[in-house]
């Protein structure tokens, strides 16, 4: 059995890639090859010039992975950029994560910002923050509490809940004044081309088509078409151009 070493980097040190047990970067480091380790922690600046495969990844500073990332858990408290795809069991974002290809995960929790240039798939997708997904967002359970504007090209899943931004009375007042003067601050909105699911509840969403078994449209929505199978409810304030019940 290989006895893997730990790698601790303090200060500015560049190293090669390799196989390690725990890798901790406290200073600034470039790892110039694929990195395979049990734990990867960055508390400073790190760059992996290759693929990163690990069990537990913890980014509390800034990290760039030029290849793909595979990890059982990834916690991002600072900024992380992955040039390839990411495969993570449990993803927890309290900072900012930018993925240039697709993201495949078990559980995704976003309390900061998530950007995915490809598709994003998970079993559970929970956001209390902001996301920008260029492809399809799909998960069994999608729970979105909007903060600022978010978007996805398409959304598909089983249970989809989108709730508008929770603001203070003052912020709401300011928004109303701005609206009055035609400066509408469209903060706290989700923009999507299509949303498909079994049970859908939407607030503050701008979407072309919604298709589902049971669909409930809450306040502040702008929708071109809703196609539902069983139940349909719509908030008066929301704009829904066309609804259709499918047999």
């Amino acid at each position: 059995m290989e006895n893997k070493q730990n790698l601790r980097i303090n200060g500015a040190t560049d190293v090669g890639g390799g196989n390690y047990n725990k890798v901790v970067v406290r200073g600034k480091s470039t790892l110039s090859g694929d990195l395979n380790c049990v734990e990867f922690t960055t508390m400073g600046l790190s760059r992996v010039k290759g693929n990163l495969e690990t069990v537990k990844a913890n980014i509390d500073g800034k990290s760039t992975v030029e290849g793909i990332l595979k990890s059982e858990s990834l916690t991002v408290k600072g900024t992380t950029k992955i040039m390839g795809s990411a495969d993570v069991e449990i993803l927890d974002i309290a900072g900012s994560l930018d993925i240039k290809d697709y993201l495949s995960a078990g559980e995704i929790k976003v309390r900061g910002k998530l950007e995915v240039d490809g598709d994003c798939e998970a079993d559970l997708f929970e956001v209390e923050g902001q996301f920008n997904i260029d492809g399809l967002l799909t998960a069994d359970q999608i729970n979105i509490q909007l903060h600022g504007t978010s978007q996805a090209k398409e959304i598909g899943g089983e249970k989809i809940i989108v709730k508008k931004e929770v603001t203070s009375k003052f912020k709401e007042f300011v928004n109303e004044v701005l609206y009055f003067f035609n400066f509408y601050n469209s903060a706290g909105k989700l923009t999507v081309e299509s949303i498909e699911g079994d049970n859908i509840y939407l607030e503050s969403t701008k979407v072309k088509v919604v298709r589902g078994t049971n669909v409930k449209i809450g306040p502040d929505c702008e929708i071109e078409m809703v196609e539902y199978k069983n139940k349909y409810q719509q908030d008066e304030e929301s704009k829904v151009e066309e609804t259709r019940q499918l047999g």
Partner: protein, 215 residues
């Protein structure tokens, strides 16, 4: 046998909406099965319709796949089903005698493979596929020795390049010259008037048949 110049594509597509209605599955299920690789990404075909962008599927393939999944779901987990329906069961290795005993490949075809290519201790999934396809063709009609040899050699040389992409095997003939093509499923192909399409075979369908036999 196909007519000269006939389009080789799945002219039979079904819309996502019609599919859900016909198979009585929900959006949640469809998306989940897609994520778990039970339904290949390539089967989700985006097309512009008068109502905007719609998603369509190859009709026969998707209907067969969904009924298969529903059947397997009763006894297997989604992960297990993915292993059964996925086009690359890399771990399958069987000896010549096992293949004949289990009635997966005919002895005649194995001998032909040995003669044309090489005798092997165990045959991997790709090699079994080539032999299976040959068997299917022989059963379907007249395939002379020359055609069999061309087919086997073409598959051995080029099929691995397709990796997980579905493809079609096509035999064409013009003035007694036979050609064999392997082409990715999603591509259209047309021929000149004098070229006759001797046969066209969708390999993913054959692979599914083979997987069913092996499971």
């Amino acid at each position: 046998m196909m007519k000269v110049g006939e389009k080789l594509e799945d002219s039979n597509l079904i819309s996502k909406k019609d599919l859900l209605k016909k198979t009585d599955i929900s959006y949640g299920q469809l998306y989940r099965w897609k994520r778990k690789d039970l339904i290949p990404e390539q089967w989700f075909i985006k097309k512009s319709t008068y109502t905007g962008q719609g998603t369509f599927f190859p009709k026969e393939k998707i209907l067969n796949r969904i009924s298969w999944i529903k059947e397997l779901k009763q006894e297997h987990s989604l992960k297990e089903i993915a292993a059964i329906v996925s086009p690359k069961p890399a771990d399958i290795k069987l000896t010549g005698s096992e293949l004949v005993e289990e009635e997966i490949i005919t002895e005649e075809t194995i001998n032909f493979f040995i003669e044309q290519i090489k005798r092997r201790e165990v045959y991997n999934f790709n090699q079994i596929t080539y032999m299976f396809v040959l068997d299917q063709l022989i059963t379907a009609g007249d395939v002379d020795l020359e055609q069999r040899a061309i087919l086997l050699n073409t598959m051995v040389e080029h099929y691995p390049k397709f990796e997980s992409e579905n493809c079609k095997l096509i035999f064409i003939r013009k003035r007694k010259v036979m050609n064999c093509l392997l082409i990715a499923d999603t591509k259209h192909i047309y021929f000149d008037k004098e070229t006759e399409v001797v046969f066209s075979m969708d390999l993913s369908t054959q692979i599914e048949k083979l997987e069913k036999k092996l499971s």
